[in-house]
């Protein structure tokens, strides 16, 4: 199978995020960058469907530094990388989808993988948008994925249950936690990744009609309250939950 995984470079989930002076973007000094954790499921899944004569291509849109995250994916076992290089990644998912789709048109893939969402902007939008532009089927939030011949069987998470569906190839999925255990890059993998092909293509972003007006942090959570200790505290706890929190 020829598999393409679209990868995003995101701030490490442990990074303390600051908003820059414009008030509409994060301040990226001192930010540690990583492969979007949901994309790790996508890469791992693509590797299991590659087969002996297939390949896994990593496609990413981002600044030049994104080569580091692409190398990580190559170290996990992917075969080659393509960076669609821009100065700053777009905040409009439609711009991202349009640029990715135009590169994907040339690749003639069988399977297309995305993480179900980027942990930075949480739009959950790029995968479905790309599939829509390319006019191929895509199912999102996939937790089980099997391919037989030219048909893919998918199990996906829905509100309160599971859904099973079929798609003809070529098709795409967005990957959800539970699909697999992400592969860690091994040391020999890291060494081999240095020699794998990684192409950098500068691209222009299409116009966007989306504007970020303001970014702000959620308000601080009110401090907790200790009502007592052990069984003696139960009556007071019930009173507080009923009268103050009004959850009982």
């Amino acid at each position: 199978m020829k598999c393409v995984v679209c990868l995003k470079r995101v701030p490490d989930t442990g990074t303390r995020i600051k908003i820059d002076s414009s008030g509409t973007a994060i301040d990226d000094t001192d930010v540690e960058w990583i492969v979007n954790p949901y994309d790790e499921f996508a890469i791992t899944e693509a590797l299991t469907h590659r087969g002996s004569d297939g390949e896994v291509i990593i496609l990413a849109l981002g600044p030049e530094e994104t080569t580091k995250e692409i190398r990580t994916a190559l170290a996990m076992g992917a075969d080659q990388g393509i960076l669609l290089q821009v100065q700053r990644p777009p905040t409009d998912p439609l711009q991202t989808a349009q640029v990715l789709a135009s590169a994907l048109k040339e690749l003639e893939f069988d399977l297309l993988f995305f993480g179900c969402r980027g942990v930075d902007d949480d739009n959950c939008a790029v995968g479905p948008m790309v599939a829509s532009i390319l006019d191929i089927p895509l199912l999102s939030d996939v937790i089980q994925f099997d391919v037989e011949g030219s048909k893919a069987t998918v199990q996906r998470e829905t509100e309160g249950g599971h859904e099973i569906g079929n798609m003809p190839l070529p098709c795409g999925i967005t990957t959800q936690k539970g699909l697999n255990e992400p592969k860690l890059p091994s040391l020999p993998g890291i060494m081999k990744a240095k020699k794998k092909p990684l192409e950098i293509r500068p691209v222009e972003l299409p116009d966007s009609s989306l504007e970020i007006v303001e970014m702000s942090f959620p308000p601080d959570r009110p401090p907790g309250k200790i009502v007592g200790e052990g069984a003696d505290a139960v009556p007071e706890l019930i009173r507080v939950l009923q009268e103050e929190a009004k959850v009982l």
Partner: protein, 510 residues
Amino acid sequence: MNEAQTACSPFNEDHQSFRQTCRRFVSEKITPRIDEWEANKGYDRSIFPEMGAMGLLGIPYPEEYGGSELDFWYSVVWMEELARCGAAGFPMSTMVHSYMASPPIERFGTQELKDRFMPQIVAGEKITALAISEPGAGSDVAGIRTTAVRDGDHYIVNGSKTFITNGTEADLLTLAVKTDPSQTHSGVSALVFETDTPGFSIGRKLEKLGCHSSDTAELAFDNCRVPVKNLLGKEGEGFYIIMDNFQQERLVGAISAVAGAELIFAKTLEYARSRKAFGKPIGHFQVQRHRFAEIATRIEAARQMAYHATRVFVSGQNAVREISMAKLFCCETGTWVADQCVQTYGGWGYMEEYPAARALRDTRLLTIGGGTSEIMREILSRMVFDGKEYLLPEEGSSTPDTSGPTVSEIFGSLPKRFRSEKAGDLQEVFRFDISGSGGGTWTVQVKEGEMHVREGAHEDPGCSVQTDVDTYVAVETGQIKPQDAFMAGRITVDNIPAMMALSGSLSRLS
């Protein structure tokens, strides 16, 4: 790391990328299990193949064995990250496997032996241990008593070993034996021993002060047959094969000590930010804050010393001085830091719920294992005071340097070097007690303008001299001035005028 630290760091982008892999592996696969292993007094061996699959057990080894053959800084990264698992025992077991027990096999084993065992060692399918210490011999390697007697194409091994890390789990031992019990250093040989050999048994698993997630055992050998082809190097080269690896082993100790100190210090800072006393976090009290400044400074000094020793080691130069200093300082700093951290935690520092108690008992091993602080000071004092140089065997050659004269050759040369015209009216019996391998007792008599030398104790001496082989040879060959050796307390003489007259009457050793 801030920008300045990044710029001065010995680690490049590849090292850092490897660090991410190590960090995740440790936090996902080891840290969640470490408390269980501590409680069980040993790790679950299924972790070894997992580490093998990640390439973590083959960092320095050739690709033909499944390794990555990378510079030592990658190993440093792995040691630093492994220390973050929160206990020192399991990391020690891993380090023994990769950096202490298996290097002699890779370096001195025959091709057949390496082809057979190295791929399994690198994959973590076979666990290795280094079996040197015995109930009666620790730092004194030449004093071991486990024997290997040749019987056709086998050795018959008998004896016992103790304090063996990985002892209950090991499939392979790098085993020090005496192939010639009549000799000291030159009677030691090294064998690869497979623990499924009949006659081998694990005496008992030892109860330790700390490092509980690592097993330590006594091993017994009862007429075990080991193929001669399992010999490392040649017969009699065992002592040098073991010594050869000491520098790397000590460097590993120093680096791990710093990494462990850093971890417990970070946890202590966290605690000092949240724990309140007298209405504010304890970290706001100056007495604690100054303690933290002191700890941070000493950790940084230790780290830079370990990194410097690594630089010298990686460059291929003789690093005995730097590594001995790093082992001494980093390990003593490690135990000091753990003690200071317990103090900051106060009563909770003494309780198992918090990590300081474990750190304290684990770090206590640092100044003992892999060469005690006393041995490090001894090596260093010989270097800084006596001007001694420790030369390492050349790469690929384990043959000891035998070019210097032996003690008996020196005594044999004395009558020829005696100049009666310079001796004045010296009439005296001298008794030399030379300790150590190749030493012994010698009697030198100057009588009526002639010198007589005999081995053993004869006549009543008017002047007794005590020293060790190294010092005696160094003095006689002009490497150390006799007065320096005397001042350093390495020679004792009870009749100094007679000794000076004797020295003055001898021409130099040619």
